[in-house]
């Protein structure tokens, strides 16, 4: 795709899209949205980048390998927080009862483990979207190679 307009517009809006995605992820515990919505926005931004420039440029920014590693990382962060609560002596995914500092409701740094978990989910969703995109695209390429 060699369209100058698309590339230019992409270049302009990409930071805003990503920033917005990050905002949604980080404010998951305060407002509607959260890990999934924000992660989807971030993932979409990366897909947009790869579409507007080309695949290799996209891969340079975030390769398939890294994205699938991040995918594992996000999920592990979630599970890790759950087990962390067990180590603190409460049930799985325990939050306030586990003694994780809650902070003042309404502040950015509040709700204890939820924020970290949301962040993990965001990473997971964003990287999953990218991985899905790469997988489908590469599968297509692969088939053309064979034919």
């Amino acid at each position: 795709m060699e369209d100058i307009i698309v590339r230019y517009v992409t270049r302009i809006i990409l930071p805003f899209v990503q920033l917005y995605g990050l905002y949604v992820v980080l404010h998951g515990h305060l407002s509607p949205g959260g890990g999934f919505s924000g992660g989807a926005i971030i993932g979409a931004s990366m897909i947009l980048y790869a579409l507007a420039f080309n695949l290799s440029a996209g891969s340079k920014k975030l390769s398939h390998d890294v994205s699938s590693a991040l995918e594992s990382g996000g999920a592990l962060l979630f599970a890790g927080m759950g087990i962390f609560a067990i180590l603190l002596g409460t049930n799985f995914l325990g939050n306030k009862v586990a003694g994780i500092p809650i902070g003042t409701p309404g502040n950015l740094f509040s709700s204890g483990a939820i924020m970290i978990i949301t962040f993990g989910v965001g990473v997971k969703v964003a990287s999953t979207m990218i991985t899905l995109f790469y997988s489908l695209i590469e599968g297509e390429d692969h088939s053309h190679d064979h034919d």
Partner: protein, 128 residues
């Protein structure tokens, strides 16, 4: 029961009605189309109908988004639980869709077509 009554009840429960219509459209698309992509689209329509239904049952007339803000007085909130659940449902639907699409890519690679009947024909030829 008069016609009016029926219409009135339909209006009151319109979300049932439309969800079912969507569900049937999706189901029909899934069953009647040979194109595998269309089958996946039908599947998504079907899922969407259920999501809409689920979200609709959580809606409270005149309710607000359920965000607790200090200082704002209590009003009726929309039930957030169905929406939260449906988010999960959407995630599931997305992954199923992605997976189905990738399978279609593979099928295309093997058979050179995405038409279910064509694939059956090719397979049938294999067996004989």
């Amino acid at each position: 029961m008069t016609m009016i009554d029926i219409l009135l009840r339909l209006h009151q429960n319109s979300y049932y009605f439309f969800a079912i219509i969507l569900f049937i459209i999706g189901f029909h698309t899934m069953l009647s189309h040979n194109n595998l992509i269309k089958k996946v689209i039908g599947m998504n329509i079907m899922d969407t109908s259920i999501f809409l239904f689920f979200v609709a049952i959580g809606y409270v007339n005149g309710g607000r988004a359920p965000i607790l803000e200090p200082g704002v007085p209590y009003t009726a909130y929309v039930n957030p639980l169905p929406s939260a659940l449906i988010l999960t449902g959407i995630v599931v639907a997305v992954s199923v869709t992605a997976y189905a699409l990738s399978l279609i890519v593979k099928l295309y690679k093997h058979y050179g077509t995405i038409d279910a009947e064509e694939i059956m024909r090719i397979r049938g030829g294999d067996i004989q």
